[in-house]
Amino acid sequence: MTPPVAERSAYPVSPTIQAAAKPMLPGRRRDFLAGASRLAAATMLAAAAGLAGVLARAVWQANGGSADGTPYAGGAGWETIGPAVAGTLWLALATAALALPIGLGTALYLEEYARPKRRAVRAFQAAVAHLAGVPSVVYGVAGLVVLVHGLSAGRSIFAGGLALAALALPTVVATSAEAIRAVPDDLRTAAYGLGATRWQVVRHQVLPAAAAPIAAGACAAITRTAGEAAPLLVLGATSFATFAPAGPGDPLVSLPTQVFAWAVRPQAEFAAQAAGAAIALLAILLGLNVAGLFLRRRLRKVLP
């Protein structure tokens, strides 16, 4: 079809070169990372699937097996996890209502109002950012002393919400500040050049430009804290409630602490109940994540 290279070429291939040419090595070379990295990825997949499988199996067996009379109240169903679901939703709401505005306000102050940044501001910002690395159980200890005993907030949804908001705050500040910092300075310079005040620049330029990543960061922080059990256990969460909390003053119940309370019991019925609560918790977190995704997309669409 096509004439051989040598014939068509204007410059005949020198025979010495052709003779000297090493033969092409056929076949593929071994790549040690290819196998190892695929194995690791497969392990991650298996871990995720295994986790889902463990939970599903526990619930499945409980529903399939006969209920041999446990002396306890219970049974995996809506009556048992309903109060905890309501509690977790309340707590997420409280976290969002407190951590979001305060965190965003803090970030705006640090990034926009404290400009140019003095050393003290930078030090403060770093100090707050690293609080995100402090274990949540530590917040529970502080919350117990300050909220439950100091403010007499009791072991209530209110106390739990405050503790979780304090836990989420450093993360919200850090992610919001990062989003604000990513807004190009040209935007600010142009706006200031037109005679805008700081607030006008923030309101009309910075916030619209940074809204989507701020929402994403806040949503991630709230989702993470909504799954926290340790600080609520320290505050003194309720292990069994016959009613759903209807307001901030009601006793502290939540899905994560309920998963804990049931999971540590050796009986299979409670393992199933814990697995059911865990699935409900994962579903709520997934819902929050999806809501965050929609919010983010919407913010991106509405604001340029």
């Binding site: 096509t2 051989p4 290279v5 068509r8 070429s9 204007a10 410059y11 005949p12 291939v13 020198s14 070169i17 052709q18 040419a21 090493k22 092409m24 090595l25 056929p26 076949g27 593929r28 070379r29």
Partner: protein, 246 residues
């Protein structure tokens, strides 16, 4: 020795190279000219199978090296890259010492000889030996931009390729460094086959034996350099080399 036959490359739905057929003769310098984004880089990358590292790339047609289809089922792309080396527009020394930069390729290829000897040889070939001989452990990033490009060429030579693909090797260099690289390329012709993509017409005229003119991914004209620059067969090539481009 190196040839393309109806070679096309698409990135997603975008065609970067369309039905290009050309032969690169041994121990000659072939330059590839054309406007930005005309497919010069893609053509070079097609010859050492580095396009496939870009997501969505699809290559059709054949590219042959000593008659072997580079895209053949049994061909190892890693071996292809050892035989057909490539130098990029921007010097990309690894953040390691000069010596480690040279040694990376030979070590990867299982080189059993004396690496220092090899380093001296290739650095000499690349005209860099005098500059770096004193301290081969110096960080490569401490070299000047021109020296970095020379190092990249030396590094490629250390793999002992048959062909050097050079993608605008002097585009980001100053005139003095450009001159050094050009004379280096010229001297390499004795042992290597070189394909050089360039947007500098005078460089193409100075260096190459054959010139290929690409436009929008298509090979418009492929002629001996003297012919293409003085008496091009096609009107597009004439317009381009005389600067009367639309």
């Amino acid at each position: 020795m190196l040839s393309a036959d109806r070679l096309s490359v698409r990135f997603g739905s975008k065609t970067a190279l369309a039905d290009v057929s050309l032969d690169v003769p041994a121990q000659k310098i072939v330059s590839v000219i054309g406007r930005s984004a005309c497919g010069k880089t893609t053509l070079l990358r097609a010859f050492n199978r580095t396009n496939e590292m870009i997501a969505g790339a699809r290559t059709t047609g054949t590219a042959r090296f000593h008659g072997t289809d580079l895209y053949g089922r049994t061909v190892d792309p890693v071996e292809v890259r050892r035989r057909i080396g490539m130098i990029f527009q921007r010097a990309t020394p690894f953040p390691k010492s000069v010596f480690d930069n040279i040694a990376f390729g030979p070590r990867a290829g299982g080189f059993a000889g004396d690496l220092h000897e090899l380093a001296e040889e290739v650095l000499t070939s690349a005209g860099l030996w005098a500059d770096v001989a004193g301290d081969l452990d110096a960080p490569a990033l401490a070299l000047s931009a021109g020296q970095q490009q020379q190092l990249c060429i030396a590094r490629t030579l250390a793999v002992r390729p048959d062909v050097l693909l050079m993608d605008e090797p002097t585009a980001s260099l100053d005139p003095a460094a450009t001159a050094r690289i050009e004379s280096l390329v010229h001297s390499l012709k004795a042992t290597y086959t070189v394909v050089i993509a360039t947007h500098d017409l005078s460089q193409a005229a100075r260096l190459s034996d054959m010139t290929a003119f690409l436009d929008a991914g298509e090979l418009v004209e492929y002629s001996p350099t003297a012919t293409l620059f003085t008496n091009p067969r096609t009107r597009q090539a004439e317009e381009y080399v005389t600067g009367r481009t639309s």
